[in-house]
Amino acid sequence: MELVFGMKDVYPWEAKVRRSIEARLRTLFERWGYAEVEPPTLEYYATFEKTMSEEMKERIFKFLNRDGKLVCLRPEFTTSVARMFAQGNALPLPLRVYYSGKVFRYPSSPFRTESEFTQIGLEHIGQSGPAQDAEVVTLAILALRETGIRSFEVDIGHASIFRGILEVLPLESEEKEEVRIALKKRDFVALQNLCSRKPLPLPLSPFLLQLPFLRGKKDLLERFSFFSLESEEWQRAVRDLSKTWEILEDFGVTEHLSINLGLVRDFDYYTGVVFEGFSPDVGYPLLAGGRYDELFQVFGKDVPACGFALFLERVLEALQKETSWQEGDSATPSVLFYPPRLRKRAFELAEKLRSRGIPLVMEEHEKETILLATPRGSSTLEDLDEQAVENLLRQEDV
């Protein structure tokens, strides 16, 4: 049978690497005081309708349930987590939660195929400030390190940078919309065309066109503080970023970190710091997140939050490219061959071995003895007395 278009099977060797990365991230998140949540796979479409961009809404898997209601496969976790905690009555805030699971989206263009992705991520709910932003960014960096990727980087930007720019641009609202769409699509040719059609005051137009190259450490913020007098939004972005950076410096994680004033995120719900993690070997981000202080309002609560999600399939691609992929290490189980006559005894022995953590399969054979074949060699057990079993177990423990 064919696979459904966009779906993929995971075979044992890959499953093992996936699970081990997931286990390491769980341990990391739990050590930082985050608790696991599991929102359902299926949600009402209405839940996402208010939080997703038009483009993302088109990519959601939607269908009718038997009550005739429009439901969908979750396209991401953040909205579900917000719904979950906006519904609960007395939230003990702040709340630190993490999740791990599949999300579903139709491909972003007719020329892409993947539709099922694994996201492992976390949300810090109930507090808003540089300390919380720094905690989440730090965890993003630690999470990437924990996956085993050697060269990775994280870029941090701010949703209010674009808002600030739009605020101060002396343009009609129609042209502003043009700028917004161009920035979102990373189409700087459209911006150049607009700027030559509609000359902007001097610092603005070169700045706008330079945006995708404005990447650096903290000094970048000082270089571009000239905006700050005119725009409230811009002021906030610069303030948030420099305070967060200070904390991240104290945490000692700025080595892999850059400030990027042109950072664009696909989700519309971000309101503050945004960030992306990537490896030079893979063409798309491995991790993405940010602050979304208005998302809970959609569900009737005014609670700030910040979080990120790591895209496991892309992380695997980066590991593969770095050749640190441990493909062959899926443990081959030992085999216990037994004659039907000794089945009961063989089963007891098998359970003993398994309880010691030895992966084991049982196979009937026609010989009269029990034979144990391990990856290191095989031994025949003529006589299954307690002593022989003990010896064997001791041997296997080595």
Binding site: D187, N193, F213, F278
Partner: protein, 220 residues
Amino acid sequence: MKRLTLTLPTGRLKDDVVELLSRVLSRPLSLPSRQLVVDDPSLPWRIIFSHPKDVATYVEHGAADLGLVGKDILLERENEVYELLDLRIGKCTMVLAGPEHLTREILFRREHLRIATKYPHVTRRYLQEKGLNADIVVLYGSIELAPAIGIADAIVDLVSTGKTLRENRLHVLEEIAPISTRLVANRVSMKTRTLEIEDFVKILKEVVSGENRSETSGQS
């Protein structure tokens, strides 16, 4: 430091693109004619030649840091790449065209409209914006024949001089988008190779605007 990888289109645009890069180098860029991957240590870039339609895909997936690609392909594929510079070569227009005796108004009033194109995605979006229902017939070549042989009422295609349209007794009903070759960059390369890409864009920009000044009216 690893050099930047550039993807260039084969076919119609190749000569223009090689000529442009020669100007960037200030010396003729001589490339082996059949080789698709050029890893010449005397060049500042590694070069991959690909089908024009694949350039942006290579860049999007990180097989190349930068690519030179027609805007028509970018509109059709909507690749997630940075569009950095208009190279002002390969200029033409994407248009809706139909038989000479038809106006746009008459055509749009038809109940069953059928449009032939190489660009189904762009055409679908265009029709949506116009609020029109139409069947799209996807063809790979000689789009301009479609109305004459009766498989479509109109076409969406690229036009440069309009000569081909006239020869097929078609005329432009509406301009959809101006097209030219663009420099695109991978999202991650923009972050990991920021300075090198910025330098390349700067030089290319100078070359392109210089070229523009001395431009005679040379259209193919």
